[in-house]
Each structure stands twice: as structure tokens, then as C-alpha cells.
Symmetry: C2
Subunit: 242 residues, 2 copies
């Protein structure tokens, strides 16, 4: 499985992804699922990958090669809008699907890559998309400021209770990390390290990026304080009178 999330806020976007991949229960590995295309002052594009690793890696490699080739029609650095960026990612996904699908017939997994893509191009607002395996996509809105992929359920209640579009970046970052903590506890196929980017609107550069590995002191303290805090909230809740 996987857990990836993008949160669209007034002042920026939070991106976070776990790093566990597995082929069956007996074959776990670590791969970074976060990819950044950045040209400071011009654009920041962040991709979070979910699904079959061969598929997601191939899509990233195609996108990277197309950037190197420099064809304005197909490369992320030539895109004029984030909407066009999402379309280019979808085009790369469809190209891989076309190449591989026939060979994966009868394979239980198949081509099932999907992406969260967000960021900002100079002169454009920040935008955030979720691209499905078929290459169609949705965009985060005011009503639903976050998009998740993979094991989404365990970590969702805390996001629902805390996040709005107006939540400050620092608070949203903590919320995302608690959401990961809840997910890691319940699904073994979601695992550390967690990659985190907090993109500040109009900065057009990745200024805040952190990787949280097993035993990270901040993550451990956050998890502990959250557990203690919620248990205290419980003790203060009104008693039920039967």
C-alpha cells in the first residue's frame, strides 16, 4: 500500500508521502515516492506516486527524459499552467500504460499508477490535482482542501476535524504528520521514512523539506504528545448519564 496526501491551503501546499513498497507480504522495500521538478523563481512541481512501482518509476523517468529533451510540447518546464502540467503527467501515464498493458494482462496488479500533483508556476495561483490511473484527474477545491491516495481511511478523521483552507501552514503540517502516525499504526504496508514538503505560496522554491525516519525525535515527540493530549480530552468529555 501507500499513503500520500496533498493539502491545499490559502498560504501554500503541504505534500507528504510514505516510503514503503511491497510485492506480497514477504517482500518489503523503501522507495521515495516524492519527486520535485523545480526551477527557482519560475516553478515548483511536486509529484507523489501511488501504485505499482514499475509503473510509477517509468512515468517519472519519462517525465524526466522529456524535460532533458526540452521539447516545449511535452516537458514540464515548458508547461504554461498547472493544468497543463497535470495533462503532461497524464500523457506520460497513458504512454506507459499503452506500452505495458498488454504484457500485464492476467497480472493481478496491472498498471495502476496514480499521482498527486501540485505546485505553482510563476504568474499562476497554487494548484493541486489528483490524477487517476486512467489519466483523468480532479482538482482540490475550497470545500475539499486535501487529496489522499492509498491507505486513506485511518488518517482521514483528524484531517476532517482540523483542516480548513485557512489553516496556517505550520498547523496543517502537524495535522498531516498526526494523520501519518495514525495510518502507520494500523497498516503495516505504510511505512517510514515520511517525506514532507511545505510549499509557501509565491516562494517559487522548495524552502521547507524534511524526511522523517524511524525514531525521528520530532515525530516521536509529536506522536507522544498527541496521544497524551487526546487521552486528556477524553477524561474531560462529559460522562454519559443513562
Amino acid at each position: 500500500m501507500t499513503y500520500c496526501i496533498g493539502v491545499m491551503l490559502d498560504n501554500g501546499i503541504i505534500f507528504a508521502s510514505d516510503s514503503r513498497t511491497n510485492a506480497g507480504m514477504d517482500n518489503f522495500a523503501k522507495f521515495c515516492k516524492m519527486t520535485v521538478f523545480e526551477r527557482p523563481g519560475d516553478r515548483v512541481i511536486v509529484l507523489l506516486s501511488s501504485g505499482n512501482l514499475a509503473g510509477t518509476q517509468a512515468v517519472i523517468s519519462v517525465l524526466t527524459q522529456r524535460c532533458a529533451d526540452g521539447d516545449a510540447e511535452t516537458n514540464l518546464y515548458g508547461a504554461r499552467t498547472m493544468f497543463d502540467v497535470a495533462r503532461l503527467v497524464a500523457d506520460a501515464m497513458r504512454a506507459i500504460e499503452e506500452r505495458d498493458a498488454g504484457h500485464l494482462e492476467g497480472n493481478r496488479v496491472g498498471f495502476n499508477a496514480s499521482f498527486i500533483v501540485g505546485g505553482q508556476l510563476d504568474g499562476e495561483p497554487i494548484r493541486l490535482f489528483r490524477i487517476y490511473a486512467e489519466g483523468n484527474f480532479i482538482e482540490a477545491s475550497t470545500d475539499t482542501p486535501f487529496l489522499q491516495t492509498g491507505e486513506t481511511k485511518y488518517g482521514k478523521p483528524i484531517l476532517d476535524r482540523v483542516l480548513t483552507r485557512h489553516t496556517p501552514l505550520a498547523d496543517a503540517t502537524k495535522c498531516v504528520l498526526v494523520s501519518f502516525d495514525s495510518t502507520l499504526r494500523s497498516n503495516l504496508s505504510v511505512g517510514m521514512p515520511i517525506d514532507l514538503i511545505c510549499y509557501e505560496r509565491d516562494s517559487l522554491a522548495v524552502q521547507y523539506r524534511r524526511r522523517f525516519d524511524q525514531g525521528d525525535p520530532y515525530f516521536t515527540a509529536l506522536s507522544h504528545d498527541w496521544g497524551e493530549g487526546t487521552r486528556q480530552v477524553f477524561r474531560d468529555l462529559p460522562e454519559l448519564s443513562w
Copy 2:
């Protein structure tokens, strides 16, 4: 969908179930999923039903008829242990499955009834089981004091953080209700009213039973206070220094 939970504690068992059933997205209804077999001073047996309603209702009707028939071999009031109770429920499930399975072939849902069963017989400890659709079952243990069925994920993190075998009944009750609140917010196919029983060890009677309907003042206050409290815990969490 459905959400049912049984929590096995030192001092008793909490049972709770939602009441929503649906046949497709456009056909919702309310049915109580909690059934009690009680003979005060002798035994309390609580069943929580999940799965296809025709199947679960048939199982309950078979169990009820067998109690009326009074055959010591097959009726819940004749069972000597909670283990035997779980077996009798499984037998009833298998009888319905045998009768209906052939007629449900090709039906997407099929016979998929499953149950949480718990309670106490005079002279026995409290016990709690989860019976799968096939009629085999597991029992709650010290390590894992709660058993869930249906839409289990949204409501699980809070149980994991708060519940141990030693949690007082009153606190566990609040925890179960918050778990329901989280689930109701995220899955429309889980719905109120919530039926709740708090069975006190060795009481051999159902003393604490409540139904929480839409707008219930206690449930509304609990949900509000929990939301406020957790948001405050957030504000107090340590800031991440990049």
C-alpha cells in the same frame, strides 16, 4: 455498510452498532443490528449483525425460534458456555447459508452475514467473539480488546490510542461513541441511530442500554467537545523546526 464494535474490558463489555442498511446507493433504511438474549441472573448474550440483511435477520429468527422450541442442544438459553453460544450462532448461520446459497449464486452480495457475539453466563467469565460468514470465529484477547465489523478503519485510530483492557467502562463508552462519530462523518453508509449497551461484569442483566438518534443532545455535545479538544491539542503540539 455497517459499523459494529465490541470492547472487552476488565469490568465488562461495550457493544455498539449503527442502524443503516442499504441496497444500492438509492435505497437506504434503518434496522436495529443489536439483538439481546437475556435471562436476568442467568445470562446476557448480545449479538451485533453485519452483512446482507436477509441473511442476518434469518439467523436471528432461527436462533429465536430455537429458543422458543427449547431443545437444549440448539437453543441459546440451554448453552453451557459462551463458546457454545458462539457455536450455536455459527450453526444457525450455516443452516441459513445451506438453505440460501444455491439461490444466491450469481448475486453480487451472496450470504455474507457475520456477527459480534458476547456476554456472560452465570459461573463463566465475560467473553467476546467475532464470527465470520463461514461460521468460524475468533475471541477477543488481552492484546486486542476490541473487535469491529463493517467500516472499521475511520474509527480505529482513536480506539488504538485510548483503549486498554483496564480502561473504565465509562471512558470506553465515550471512546466508542467518538469512534462512531468519526465513522459517521466519513462513510454515508454508516448511519444513526446508534445502539449502545454497556454490560457490567457479573451483573447478569442489561442495566445500561441507550439509543442515540440524530440530534441526540449528549452525542452532539460529545462530538463538539471532542472536536474542540483535539483542535486545542493541535495548537499545543510542538512546532516543527525545519
